[in-house]
């Protein structure tokens, strides 16, 4: 190892990562593959003291698990498992089993000499295979979740992806706790679990009693609070080490000790986030640095012997990539279609989740550190993670195009309907209103149409809305709106109006293509886009902000002119929230629709 200080090594890592991050941004890739690649490059320079870097990197893991467990307290705990969660669990099981089987086969091939395994000292045992299975199964995106998903998205494949991800996250943490609690080793499991329970118990005591004291002592100083929380985390990590369980258990317990109050401690949590991001970056870079590529000179001079030690690594990595990028989307897609989702949502969801997750990497590194995982398998998992993350970014970006190609080639067959009453539209319907999406706006529109005896058809593709559709709607089509057969079923061509309440680009595009024959109302959030949509033939564009702005202008104007004082405005606007007292600003017809809703 070349002799450089830790600071220099860190500096080199970040300096290399910078341009890679910029390139990743240009290609719309996530930051993680860039960090792993930076580590991979710098790792080959042989300037990194792995032990020291790992120590810093494990702070990254600790912070990740810590933040996760801080948030988990306030998450709504449900006793009923939703259909998506079943899909997520079955998917993880299937992929896990496939991964294990694959690694096991590779192991046998290596041992019997079918594959050249030069330099591979340890055999690929079933234990090793288990970790390959874990890597294949989990596609969590814990680091990216908050940044990339929009909360409360009403697009089916978006919420499917995020729900499956959060189940994956949860599975990953459980696995991580199991792995690190030493279950895989033959240590006395009971003692290990006992220590874990002690740590968790301590954490809960701290949360209930000591945290308040800490808060009062810090006396409103964010710095003192931040430092105390970091110290608390470190203390738990040290305790975990002292008890010879994993720091992951410690970090998880430490998270439970913190009260999750993002308003009260906003500045402290902001601080934790920055610190976490710094150490997580170091973590992923270190992960990359731990992979040893065959020296280039050796490969060039004698490719066969130079590459030989690398064959098992590449084989396993390649297999993992195929499992996650090809098999996983198929499994997810099939499972979702089986659960009543349309093939478009199912396919796109699958294409969003086709990678080795970040938590899979964390499980791998914990296993490596604890001595359960041999280097080649670890390296294979890391390589597969980096490659599949990059590929996943591509499939995510081009998911709609990929779907089109698959449909055009007939790979997906015909749309499948697992309910007989998927469409309840009278054959001869015409001059009706087609309402796309049965969310809040859709429901209001249906009420209104019924009120004025206007025939309508609702199109919805979310199985969760199906019971309501059956109960409340005279005519509906339960299918992907963009399928031609849906268009036929809803008799779109002879409708008088189409209202798309979903803010989806592809839906908007699709319905605008009918604007020559039917009046089309679409929805968008952005004003420039609205103008463009009008230009392209929309009869009307719903811009929620614009509508809200109009009413706001009234209130604000009244306040500033002195018509209202702030208290009056407050009282008035609060009463508007209460639907019983009808806001005077709307027409009487409007207010009947209000009360109509309440009578229901």
């Amino acid at each position: 190892m070349t002799d450089v200080t830790l600071l220099t090594a860190m500096a080199i890592l970040f300096v290399v990562a910078g341009p890679l991050l910029l390139i990743a941004k240009g290609l719309q890739l996530s930051v993680i593959p860039s960090l792993i690649l930076a580590g991979l490059f710098v790792g080959q320079l042989d300037i990194i003291d792995e032990e020291l870097m790992l120590e810093l990197a494990r702070l990254g893991i600790a912070f990740l698990v810590f933040t996760f467990s801080v948030q988990i307290q306030t998450k709504h705990v449900r006793t009923v498992i939703s259909d998506t969660e079943v899909v997520a669990i079955v998917q993880a099981l299937v992929l896990g089993v496939l991964g294990v089987a694959f690694a096991f086969v590779v192991g046998i091939a290596l041992e019997s000499g079918i594959l050249p395994g030069g330099g591979l000292v340890d055999p690929v045992t079933i234990e090793q295979a288990l970790f390959v299975g874990i890597a294949a199964a989990l596609s969590s995106m814990i680091v990216g979740t908050a940044l990339f998903t929009e909360p409360q998205s009403d697009i089916v494949h978006d919420y499917l992806s995020s729900e499956i991800n959060s189940v994956n996250d949860f599975l990953a943490v459980v696995l991580l706790l199991i792995v690190s609690a030493g279950v895989f080793a033959l240590d006395p499991i009971a003692t290990q679990l006992g220590y874990g329970v002690i740590l968790l118990g301590t954490a809960i005591v701290i949360n209930r009693y000591l945290f308040g004291i800490m808060d009062r002592l810090a006396g409103g100083s964010d710095e003192a609070m931040l430092v105390s929380i970091v110290a608390l985390l470190i203390a738990f990590l040290a305790a975990a080490e002292f008890l010879e369980t994993s720091i992951v258990v410690g970090a998880f317990a430490a998270g439970l000790a913190i009260r999750d109050d993002p308003v009260e401690y906003s500045e402290v949590f902001n601080g934790l986030e920055s610190i976490q991001e710094f150490f997580v970056a170091i973590f992923f870079a270190t992960v990359g640095a731990l992979v040893t590529l065959p020296p280039l000179s050796a490969v060039v001079s004698d490719p066969s012997t130079g590459l030989a030690p690398f064959v098992p690594v590449v084989t396993i990595a390649l297999g993992l990539v195929i499992l996650t990028v090809v098999i996983k989307p198929i499994v997810i897609g099939v499972l979702l279609v089986y659960n009543g989702y349309d093939r478009r949502s199912a396919t796109i969801t699958g294409l969003n989740l086709d990678h080795v997750g970040e938590f899979g990497v964390i499980v791998a590194i914990e296993a490596l550190v604890l001595g359960f995982l041999i280097d080649p398998v670890f390296e294979a998992i890391i390589l597969a993670a980096a490659v599949s993350m990059i590929l996943s970014n591509l499939t995510h970006t081009y998911d709609k195009e990929i779907y089109e190609v698959m449909v055009d080639r007939g790979w997906l067959g015909q749309p499948r309907h697992d309910v007989d009453d998927w469409n309840s539209v009278p054959e001869d319907i015409s001059d009706h209103v087609v309402i796309v999406g049965y969310g809040r706006q859709g429901r209001r529109l249906v009420e209104f149409c019924e009120e004025i005896d206007q025939p309508y058809v609702v199109i919805e593709n979310n199985p969760r809305a199906l019971p309501d559709l059956r109960a409340e709607c005279d005519a509906y089509v339960f299918a992907d709106a963009i399928e031609p057969e849906t268009t036929d079923a809803s008799n779109l061509e002879s409708a008088r109006l189409v209202v798309s309440t979903a803010e989806s680009k592809s839906l908007t595009e699709y319905f605008l293509s009918f604007s020559d024959t039917v009046d089309v109302i679409v929805r968008t959030r952005e004003l420039p886009m609205a103008a463009e949509l009008i230009e392209r033939g929309a009869t009307y564009v719903i811009v929620p902000d614009l509508l809200a702005a109009d009413q706001l202008a009234d209130s604000l104007g009244a306040l500033l002119n002195g018509e209202y004082d702030p208290d009056e405005l407050r009282a008035e606007s609060m009463s508007e929230l209460n639907p019983e007292r009808v806001p005077p600003r709307f027409s009487t017809a409007e207010s009947t629709s209000h009360t109509g809703e309440i009578d229901r």
């Binding site: 200080t5 600071l7 500096a11 300096v15 910078g18 991050l21 941004k25 240009g26 020291l52 790992l54 120590e55 002592l217 810090a218 710095e223 003192a224 931040l226 430092v227 105390s228 970091v230 110290a231 470190i234 040290a238 308003v263 902001n270 601080g271 920055s274 610190i275 970056a281 490596l368 550190v369 209103v433 809040r440 706006q441 529109l445 209104f448 009046d519 109302i521 004003l527 103008a531 009869t539 719903i542 929620p544 902000d545 614009l546 509508l547 809200a548 702005a549 109009d550 009413q551 706001l552 604000l556 306040l559 500033l560 407050r570 606007s573 609060m574 929230l577 709307f586 409007e590 629709s593």
Partner: protein, 581 residues
Amino acid sequence: MVEVGLASDVAIILVAAALVGVLAVRLGQPTIIGYILTGVVIGPVGLGLVEPSIITDTMAELGLAFLLFLLGIKIRIGEIRHLIAPIVKISIPQMVAVGAVGFGFAVLLPFSFEEAVIIGLAVVYSSTAVVIKMLNDKGEATSLHGKIDVGVLLAQDIVVVIILAVLAAGRPESVADVAVTLGIVMVLVSITTVAAIAASRYVLPSLFRRIADDTRLLFLVAISWLFLFVLVSDQINVLLSPIGIDAYLSIEMGAFLAGLAIAQLPYSKDLQGRVNPLTDLFVMVFFVSVALDFEASDLLAYWQEAVVVAVGLMIVKFIVFFTLLNWQRFDLETTFLGSIGMIQVSEFGIVVAVAAVESEPPFIGQAELGFITLVALMTMSVSVYFIQYNRQLFERVEPYLSRWEQSDPVQPADTEYRNHVVVIGYDEIARRALRILEDQYDQIVVIDRNVEHVEAVENAGYDVLFGDVQYEKIRKDAGVKYADFVFSSSDQREINEILLRETTEETTVFVEARTAEEAEQLYDAGAEYVILAPQLGVVQFIVLPRVVLREQIDLRPRGRRRHGAVAKREAVPRHHGSSRW
């Protein structure tokens, strides 16, 4: 298989420092004191629990680098340009005077001539870490006296680099040797500065504009930028030795310049909030580790002398600074506050002393090093209190200082917001509100975290802050606390609750909510008006199809009828008031 264990030293340092730090806050003491004390107590001087390790040393180094980086990010060159001349005129005589006095003290005490020279050189600087940390904590870093102090500290930093370079080169053979080293350092500092400023003008704006929307990417790329400068400064000797030049740059200088380059971009405010917590963490380790390197016997060998010199130096430093600042025609308050902050001996003094010990042959011994460290520790600790209570102190002594009052002092620029409007997020709702609000208010500041929005706001002629309102730093800069009207078009409940918590009863607060339940919570939290976009949207929009359907307008064949409000509004973007559907 890699063996790792979380460094228990780090754990002990963090936990102990946190405990003592919290205690210090509780007792109304500055946290720095708590940290330094922690180092004394848990280090070899006290209980001997920890010794410095590679990790603690690295974290301490990172602490200084981040502190200077953070400082750099805060400095807009335009705002300090007029201060450069006075700072140069203050810092050079100051260093000469203080160095001479330090040397004088040492010669009078039982130190040899050579030791006295080193002591003189070591006590010249005031502590970057203490002054900047205290100024940051008190929110005075960008006040006039803060800027002067920072400027002088940087000038001193250049000198430290030179001295270190000279010491590392061994005993200088001649004045010419010193001159060459000095020349090289000056050239390198100039080159780095020019590179940083050129980058901030030509490279960084487009680069950062592309990534600024992604918070995490912005943060990581900024850190990468910081490390680029750290790496170059740290390795400049390695880089230049092939061409036969012995050169040194300090990491701190590099970090400062990296920050300075970013400071000129509109995205710097957002980064300040993100870099601050990391700085807090690492600087803490730095202060704890100051006292870790010493054995009690070395540290206390000259304790009586150290007390005398510490008291003497603090008085002399104050007098020197006061005279020089007064000479540069700063007003009395600035002169006093600027001087009282700079009375301590710097951690760089220790660094210089260490270099003198490690020089071959050594200029001073361990005991002398302990003496310098003790002076630094004592003066740092005392000065922290002077900075903490600087204004109260000034009020007390002001009557006695009145004869130094300037008739025509240099005026500080004041750009604080009062009784203004703060608008969070620049969307359609906010735009409409702005058009109404601008009739009533002169000062309007918009906060947004989207590059395009920020540019649109600038074009519309309002003040704008790029940043995440979640950060206290941003809210402080926008003066949320003193606003007369706060308008939030963010529908994140947490953010709106933070805003409601921070504003007073007098402030009118309009916020946005996603659901009726959230709206009620926000009313309970004190909002004057809650905008409920999705609901409002649907209510009004139902009216339209109703008209379309009920009035039996035959829409086919379609004459390009458009309820053209959207298009019309685009065409007349700044139409005031009463445009209705």
